[in-house]
Every structure is written in structure tokens, then in C-alpha cells.
């Protein structure tokens, strides 16, 4: 079970990113729990400067813009 956090105040890209994470996870049949973090203080404390950001199991793997779909799969599979 992987714990994924998607950081973003709630713009369209953030929702799209969340969906991408879910899609990639189901494609790889990896069990994930996706949490959306919309609180500015938490976003900033995670070190995310440009949203959306993605952290997998507490490790920040991406920030700023939509992630690359192929890259997302490797992060999840790692």
C-alpha cells in the first residue's frame, strides 16, 4: 500500500494530477491511498513551490505542472 499525497490549492491541474495518479496505479495494479493536500501551510512545508506536487510515501517526487505519465508509473512502481 502506497500513500500518495497530491499538493495543490485546488486548481484544475491538481484534480487532473490526482486522476493521473489513480489511473497509473490501477494500470499497474498498485494499491494506493491518494490524499489531496489543499492547505497552503502544509503545501509550503512540504517544500512544494509550484503546484501541483506529488509525494509518494513521504518523498517528494514531482512539483510544478502535470507529471509525465510514464515517469509517474516508474515513481509508483519504485
Amino acid at each position: 500500500m502506497k500513500h500518495v499525497k497530491v499538493y495543490g490549492p485546488g486548481c484544475k491541474r491538481c484534480d487532473a494530477t490526482e486522476q493521473m495518479v489513480r489511473d497509473a496505479a490501477s494500470k499497474l495494479s498498485i494499491d494506493v491511498e491518494v490524499e489531496k493536500v489543499t492547505d497552503y501551510a502544509q503545501i509550503a512545508m512540504a517544500g512544494v513551490v509550484s503546484t501541483p506536487g506529488i509525494a509518494i510515501d513521504g518523498k517528494l517526487v514531482h512539483s510544478g505542472g502535470l507529471p509525465d505519465a510514464a515517469a509517474l508509473e516508474t515513481w509508483l512502481a519504485a
Binding site: 495543490g8 497552503y40 501551510a41 512545508m45 517544500g47 512544494v48 509550484s50 517528494l60
Partner: protein, 353 residues
Amino acid sequence: MTTHTNTLPGRVHGPSGWLWSLGVAAFVAVWWLVYRQLIPVSEWLTGLFPVDRHSHTGEALAFFFYDVPKVLMLLTLIVFAMGVIRSFFSPEKTRALLAGKREGAGNAMAAGLGVLTPFCSCSAIPLFIGFVSAGVPLGVTFSFLIAAPMVNEVALGLLFGLVGWKVAVTYLGFGLGVAIVAGWVIGRLRLEGWLQGWVRDIHAGGVGDVPSANLTMVDRYKQGIEAVRDIVAKVWIWIIVGIGAGALIHGYVPADLMARIMGADAWWSVPAAVLMGIPMYTNAAGVIPIVEALLGKGAALGTVLAFMMSVIALSLPEMIILRKVLTLKLIAVFIGVVGTGILAVGYLFNLIF
């Protein structure tokens, strides 16, 4: 610090770099050929309508048919180029460059980077906090935050396409000037205490920086295309509406009406333009075609530019977002300082041109 990587081990590479470069070059060539045909095509289209070419309606139609494709084409090219350039910058890198910078030089650097760093107003708050908590001085952060939305590729592209390169370059110069000076002044005022309490308490602990992957040139071209899809898809409707409004002004508003209302002689016109701009929230795409039409009717350039800067840089919705991190006092200072800068630009322009 842990290292992360964006690159895949067995990443599939599509067509090679030079093939892409060739494709881009071919696209630009075709673009240029089409661009040069725009006037005849627009005249031909206007001719299809049963109106006198020299009537008000004829003028408005010709204006519309020429300007819509012209602006969309210019915008596509400029947004693509900026998308490629921006792939070399990231907010994280910019923050690292600006952290601990002295005021003055730091403000100038921040304003310049504000133009080049990818920025979206929805991430203005995390970016603001990220900058301040990483030791970027408050005034320097403001220089960045003023320049980033005000001097953007859409505004520059439209000004270039509709009003001419001289005005576009001047807008770039004065936009940067306002961002540098306003940020410097805010820094001098030492207002760190006026941030919302929780912002001051954040010390972004492990500065999580995601090292940007080693992008190939192909990746950068792809980011350019992505930017075009993203931005042009968002603004095309505003451009058509804006040019439509501009076409009506162009065809129907009597010449020199604007000269009386927004001309250089009316001293109050610049402050009035700035005040009018604050509650208005259209993006550059909607406002610039109108600006162009007003100029054609004798409005003074400085007044019109002040209006534009005010609409883009001092927008009410943005203030409401900023309220989450700034106290009202600090927002008031922000509006005051930036507004004064824009006023100065307006008067200066009217004086020079």
C-alpha cells in the same frame, strides 16, 4: 537530502532531436508563408459580405478578419518559444538563485526571473511562502510576484501583434521597472511583521527540491507545444471577444472622441485609468485588442498603458488570494506602491510620446 530522479532508465526516445528541430523549422516556415497571406485573405473574406468596404461595418469586418488570425498566429509562435525557454527555468531553481540576495540587485534579478520562470497564479501562494521561508527577502519576492503576471508572453505577444514592437518593448521595460522599484520600496519599508502570523512561523524544513530531469531538446519542444495547448486553448475566446469589441470601436466610435476623454491633455485621465483597472479582471488577451482600438481613436499611450498594467497587475481576485498570506495593511501598501509606479509610467509615457 535524498535524490530523486525524473528520468526513466529505459526511456523510450521518439524521433531524434534533429528530426524535431527540422519539424520546428518547417513549421515556422509554413507559419511565415501563411502569415504573409493574411491581408489578402481578410480582404477576400470581407468582400464576401454584402457591405460597402468603406462603411463602418466594412471597416469593422476587415479589422476583425485580419486581426483574429494574425493575433492567434503570433501568440502561438511566441507562447511556443516561451514554453521552450521556460523549460530551462523552474521556481525551485529561481528560489535557490534568489535566496539571500541583497536588495537592489536582487530585485532586478527577481523581476527578470519573474518573466522567465513558469508561473501560474494558482500557485502564487505556495510560491510566495516557499520564497519567503527559504530566505528570499520580502521585497525581492514582491519584485518577482509583480513581474511574473504583468510581463507575460500573452501581453507581449498581443502588444507586438496589434500595436507594434516599440510599444511591446517599452511595456517590457517599464513593467520590469515598476516591479523592481515597487519591490525595492516594499523591502525598504521592512514590513515582514505584516505577514500573516502563520507564514512567518513556517520555515520550510527540508527544502524539497525536485531536481529537474535532464531534459533533452525534444522534451523542451514538447513543453513548448504543451504551453501552446494550455495557453492558447485558454485565451482564444478572450481574444475573439476582445477583437470583436475592438472592431466595433474601430468601426463605429468617432475618431478623436477618445482623444478628449483619454488624451494626454486631461491630467486626471491617468489616475482614472488606474482606478478603473483595479476591479476589472480580464486577462491581457481580452484587454489589449480594446487598447489597440482606443489608441487608434486618439487615446494617449501612457493612459492606455496605465490602464492595462492596472487591469493585469492590480486585480481584485488576486488580492483576495493574497489575503491568505498578507495582512490587509500589507495589501494596502502593495496596491499603493504598485499603483504609484503605474501612475508614474502613465505620466512619463504621455510626456515622452
